[in-house]
Symmetry: C2
Subunit: 565 residues, 2 copies
C-alpha cells in the first residue's frame, strides 16, 4: 500500500539522484566533497539579506508545528548574546504523540527507500536554502559566532545529514528486493522459491539534541532514522530549541506536501524542571535512541533503554602530545585557534596538552617546558588581542554552568593564561570568555583527566614523550576522547602515536599547523567518534550507525504458485 | 608491523579470491549458491570412508589444542545414540587465556583484511575437507541423524561461515584505506590532508555455542569476528564440545602454519556444575558476545554484558496459520517432515499450528477442524511408519531435559498423536522419540504460546483465520519466532499474513509443499532471524551482524609533511 504521493516522492528522488550518487561516491572515497557551500557568498544575496528579519519575526511568538492536540506550551530560550527569544512551542501528551507516529509508520515503511530518499533529499535542500535563517537561530541558542553558526549549523550540518542518507541508502541497497532461488535437485526439477525482502524499520526513533550543536549533532541520526523508515521524535535541549524546531518544520512541510503525516518528524520540548527524555527513552515503542551530551546521561541511556538501539556521543578528554616541532610558534598558533574557537565548547576541542618537563626539540633548539607553556599562552593571547576578531571566533558561552566551571577551574593549577570576559561589539550582554590555560603536573591526574567542558585547557608536565603517550592512552581508554593530536618531527614517535590511536580507538591528527585544525571534522571524510572508546558508542557516520536502524524481513513461496505467475 | 607470514596469508587470500568473489555476488543477489557441496557423493570416496575411523580414533582420549598452560581437564560428552565419547579437553585459567589472546590481537589486527580473509577462507576449505569426520562428531553430540549431521554440520555450516566472511569483507571494503583530502581555499592553495583509516577490532569475541547446532550456529560469529580482527573464544556447550574442538583445531592449525598465535581461536570448556560463560561474558576485555540458546540466558547476556556488543538467538514460538489449501494431504505431508526432522529440535521448527475451528476450505470442499488435525497426525504417523527411515529423519534427542519435556507436555492438551520411543537399527541405546501432537483451544494461550523445545507441537482451534493471524502476531510479538508459515488459496489472506510478518519482523513461508520446508534456511539467501522480534536480536547474516565488530580509526596529517613524501 503506497501512499498517494508515493509517485511524487519518487520523482523527487530522481530529481535529487545525482546529489545522492555523488554522496555515495564521496563516502566510498572519503576525499573532499560538499554539496552545500560553506562560503556564504555562494548563496543568493537575498537569502542572506532577509535572514535577520526572518529570524526576528520568529521572536516573541508561538512557533507552530504539526502534531496531536497540544496539552501545553514550553520554551524559555535566552540568547547567550543577552536577550530572551520569547518563543513558545507546543507540548503534546507523550502517549498521543507516540501513538500517532506509530500509526504513521506503516505507510512510511511501505513507501520504500526511494520515496523516503526523495523526501530526505528535498528536506536537506530546503534546509540549505534556510541556512542564513538557521545561522541566526543557531547563534542565538548555542552562542556560536555568526560565521560559525552559518557554517557549522547550516551547510556542515546538512553535509552530515546527507552523509547519513547516503550510508542508509547504501546499506538498504545491499539487501535485494527479490530473488528467484533455484536449487538443483540432481535429476529432478530444481526446487524454486520466489523470495522477497522487505526493509522494516526498528520503530520510533528518539533523537536527543544538545545545546551546543543542535543541528550538526542531530541531523545524522534524524536522517539515518528517517531514510530507513523510522518516524523521528527530536527532543530539543531546552536551551536550543529553535534550530531544531525550524528543522522539524522544514521536514514536516515536505512530508505534508507529499501526503505523509507531517508528525513522522515531531518536536518534543521540555523544561529543565520537568525533563521528559528518560520517560520517552524507556517507552517500548521507542526502538532507537540517539543522544549527544553528558556521559552521565549517555551511560544511563545505554544502561536503561534496553528495548532500543542506543547511539551516544558523550564526554571525553581530548589530548595533544607535543614531542618535537619545527616551529613552536606555528604549532602554538594552530592550537590557539583550536582552544579559542567557540570558546572550547566543541566536543572535539583539545583540553589536555602533554609536554615533557625537560622541554621539546625544535628547529631552534630545545625549548624548556616553561617556555613552551608561555608560548602557548602567548599565542592565545595574541590571537585574541583584537576584540572584534576574538568575539567572532569565541562566540558566547552557551550555559551558565560552563561560565561557572571556568571560575571553579581556576584553582586547579598554575594559571598560564587567565580567562577574561570580553564585550561584544553588538551585544553588550553577551557571555564572552577567553580560554583559561593552566599548568599542572602529570601527577595531577584528577585535574586534567576529567572533562572540563568549555574554554579550559591544561598544559601537563610529563617525564618525556613516552610518558605523555602512556598518559594520553590511559586517559582516553578510561574517559574517552574524540580527538588526539601529536606533534613530532620523529617518525618513530609518530608511529607510536598511531599505534596508540588504534589501541584506544581515537582519531589522530598529526603535526597540524596552518589551516588544519584538530577540532574540525569534515563530513564525507572524517569519522566523528570511533564508537570504541568511552567518548562515544557510535560514529558519525559509519555503516554500523545506519545498519542497526532497520532489518530485512523475508517472505518466500514456491515459484510455481507465486501470485500472478 | 606485519607478522612474518603476512605475505603467505595474502597469497592464500589470492588463492581463494574467486570463492570470495562468488560469495560477494551471492550475498548481493541472494539467489541459490553454495561452494560446499551438500551431496556426499560430490566428495572423494576416501574422505567418507576414513571418517568413521578418524572419529573413533578421537574417542576415549585427550583432545589437544593450543593455549596457555592448562590448569585442568573437562569433558563428559555422551552420544544421544547411547555411548560416552570419553574425550577430555584442556581447561585454562581465564585470566591467562584472555591475556594471551589480548597480546595476539595487535598482530592479527595489523595483518589486515586480506591476510585475515586468506586465513578464514583456508580454514573453511579445510573444514570442508573434514566434513565427514565432523558429521560423526555432530551426530554423536547433537543427536542429528548422520545425513543431516553431514549437511547441516558440514557444508551448510561452512556456507554460513563463508557468508559471514563475505559480509565482513564487504563491510571492511566500504572503508577506504587512505585518501587525499584537498579542500579548495578560494584563491589560496587548497588545504590538503593525507588521511588513513585503520580497521580496529572491538576486542575479544566470546562465542557461546549450543548443543544442537554446535557448528551451524557458531561459524557465523566465529568467522565474522575473526575476519574483522577479533580473537575468538568459543565456549562449547558441555554436551557438544567435539565438533567445536575440531573446528577450533582446524583454525589453530591454519593460524599456526601462517605464523600467527594459534590461540587467536581458543576453545573454552566447562561443566554444567561449574559454568564459566557468565564470568567470561562480563570480562572487560570481551567486547563481543554471540550466543545461541535459551531466552533466559540470552536476555541475561543482553542485560549484563554491557561492555560488549551482544548478538543473541534465543527461544521463540514458530507458528503456522492454515486458512485454506489445495490439497490438505500435500500440506500435511510437508508439515510432517518439518515436525519430524531432528525431532523438532531445530530453532526453526513449527510448534504452533492455528486452524479455524470451523474447518478450512480445500479443493475437495471444507474439511472440519477435527479432520484437519487427524490428517496432520496421520501424515506424521505415516511418514514415520518405516522405522529405519524414521530414525534417519528424527535423529536422537539431544538432552535429557528435552526427553523429560515430552512427558511433561502430554497433559497440556488432547493427544492427537502420542510421542513414541523408537529403536535405532544400529544404536540400541539411542534416545529416539517421534513427535507429540496436541490439540488445544485458542484460549489455552499459556500452553501453546510458550516455547516447548523438542518434538512437541500444537494444533490450535481458532475462531477463524483473522483470529489465527491475530494470535500468531501477538505470540510472535511477545515471545518471538524465527519462522511463520501460512497456507491460503486467497491472495488477500496472504497479503494480510505478509503485512503481519512485517509488523512482527518474522520470516514468512507461503504455501510450502513438496520439497520446500519452513524450517530450512539456506545461507547466501535466507536471513536466519530478523533481529527485531524477541527470538533473536541479530540476523545471520546481515550487515549489522558484521559492522558492529570493528570500527574505523583515522589518522590525518598535512599532505606536505606526510612521511616519505
Amino acid at each position: 500500500m503506497k501512499p498517494l504521493a508515493y509517485a511524487t516522492a519518487v520523482e523527487l528522488f530522481e530529481h535529487h539522484r545525482s546529489t545522492l550518487d555523488q554522496a555515495l561516491q564521496a563516502i566510498q572515497r572519503r576525499e573532499y566533497w560538499s554539496p552545500y557551500p560553506e562560503n556564504p557568498r555562494r548563496y543568493p544575496d537575498e537569502s542572506a539579506n532577509g535572514a535577520q528579519a526572518a529570524f526576528e519575526a520568529l521572536l516573541n511568538r508561538h512557533f507552530p508545528l504539526a502534531g496531536p492536540e497540544p496539552v501545553g506550551r514550553a520554551g524559555a530560550e535566552r540568547s547567550p548574546y543577552g536577550f530572551d527569544l520569547g518563543i513558545s512551542y507546543d507540548q503534546y501528551d507523550a502517549g498521543q504523540l507516540l501513538s500517532r507516529m506509530q500509526r504513521a509508520l506503516p505507510s512510511w515503511r511501505d513507501a520504500g527507500p526511494q520515496a523516503r530518499g526523495g523526501v530526505c533529499l528535498e528536506i536537506l535542500q530546503r534546509l540549505n536554502r534556510k541556512s542564513f535563517e538557521l545561522a541566526h537561530a543557531v547563534m542565538h541558542t548555542t552562542g556560536q559566532a555568526y560565521a560559525m553558526a552559518f557554517q557549522a549549523g547550516g551547510p556542515h550540518s546538512q553535509d552530515r545529514g546527507l552523509e547519513a542518507v547516503a550510508y542508509a541508502w547504501r546499506a538498504m541497497q545491499e539487501v535485494p528486493g527479490a530473488a528467484l532461488w533455484s536449487k538443483p535437485q540432481g535429476k529432478q526439477a530444481p526446487l524454486a522459491l520466489c523470495k522477497q525482502w522487505h526493509l522494516v524499520p526498528r520503530g520510533l526513533s528518539l533523537v536527543i539534541a544538545c545545546a551546543t550543536f543542535p543541528t550538526w549533532n542531530t541531523y545524522p541520526a534524524l536522517f539515518a532514522s528517517l531514510a530507513t523508515g523510522n518516524p523521528v521524535l527530536v527532543k530539543a535541549h531546552p536551551g536550543a530549541i529553535l534550530p531544531v524546531a525550524m528543522s522539524v518544520g522544514v521536514a514536516q512541510e515536505v512530508l505534508g506536501e507529499l501526503g505523509f503525516d507531517p508528525a513522522l518528524v515531531s518536536l518534543v520540548v521540555d523544561t529543565p524542571e520537568a525533563p521528559v527524555a528518560r520517560r520517552l527513552a524507556l517507552d517500548p515503542r521507542v526502538r532507537l535512541v540517539d543522544f549527544t551530551g553528558s556521559s552521565a546521561f549517555g551511560d544511563w541511556l545505554e544502561d536503561n533503554a534496553r528495548q532500543a538501539q542506543v547511539f551516544t556521543e558523550k564526554s571525553g578528554v581530548n589530548c595533544v602530545v607535543i614531542d618535537s616541532v619545527g616551529s613552536l610558534k606555528s604549532v602554538a598558533g594552530n592550537l590557539a585557534f583550536t582552544l579559542s574557537l567557540y570558546s572550547g565548547q566543541m566536543c572535539t576541542t583539545t583540553q589536555t596538552i602533554f609536554v615533557p618537563r625537560d622541554g621539546i626539540r625544535t628547529a631552534d633548539g630545545v625549548i624548556a617546558f616553561d617556555e613552551v607553556a608561555q608560548v602557548l599562552a602567548g599565542a592565545v593571547r595574541g590571537f585574541l588581542a583584537d576584540n572584534e576578531r576574538a568575539c567572532g571566533v569565541l562566540g558566547a558561552i552557551q550555559s551558565e554552568a560552563t561560565l561557572a566551571r571556568i571560575d571553579e577551574c581556576r584553582r586547579l593549577g598554575e594559571v598560564l593564561l587567565d580567562s577574561e570576559a570580553r564585550e561584544h561589539p553588538q551585544f553588550p550582554g553577551a557571555r564572552i570568555r577567553t580560554p583559561l590555560l593552566l599548568r599542572v603536573d602529570a601527577a595531577d591526574r584528577a585535574v586534567y583527566a576529567e572533562e572540563r567542558f568549555g574554554p579550559i585547557a591544561f598544559v601537563v608536565a610529563t617525564d618525556g614523550t613516552e610518558h605523555s603517550l602512556a598518559l594520553a592512552g590511559e586517559v582516553i581508554a578510561e574517559k574517552g576522547a574524540l580527538t588526539l593530536g601529536v606533534y613530532s618531527t620523529d617518525e618513530a614517535v609518530l608511529a607510536r602515536a598511531e599505534a596508540l590511536s588504534l589501541d584506544v580507538a581515537v582519531a589522530l591528527s598529526i603535526n597540524f599547523e596552518g589551516a588544519a585544525f584538530i577540532n574540525q571534522s569534515a563530513a564525507f571524510s572524517d569519522f566523528h567518534g570511533s564508537g570504541a572508546n568511552p567518548a562515544a558508542n557510535a560514529s558519525l557516520t559509519d555503516t554500523a550507525f545506519v545498519a542497526r536502524r532497520f532489518v530485512a524481513v523475508q517472505s518466500r513461496r514456491p515459484a510455481a504458485t507465486a501470485g500472478g505467475n
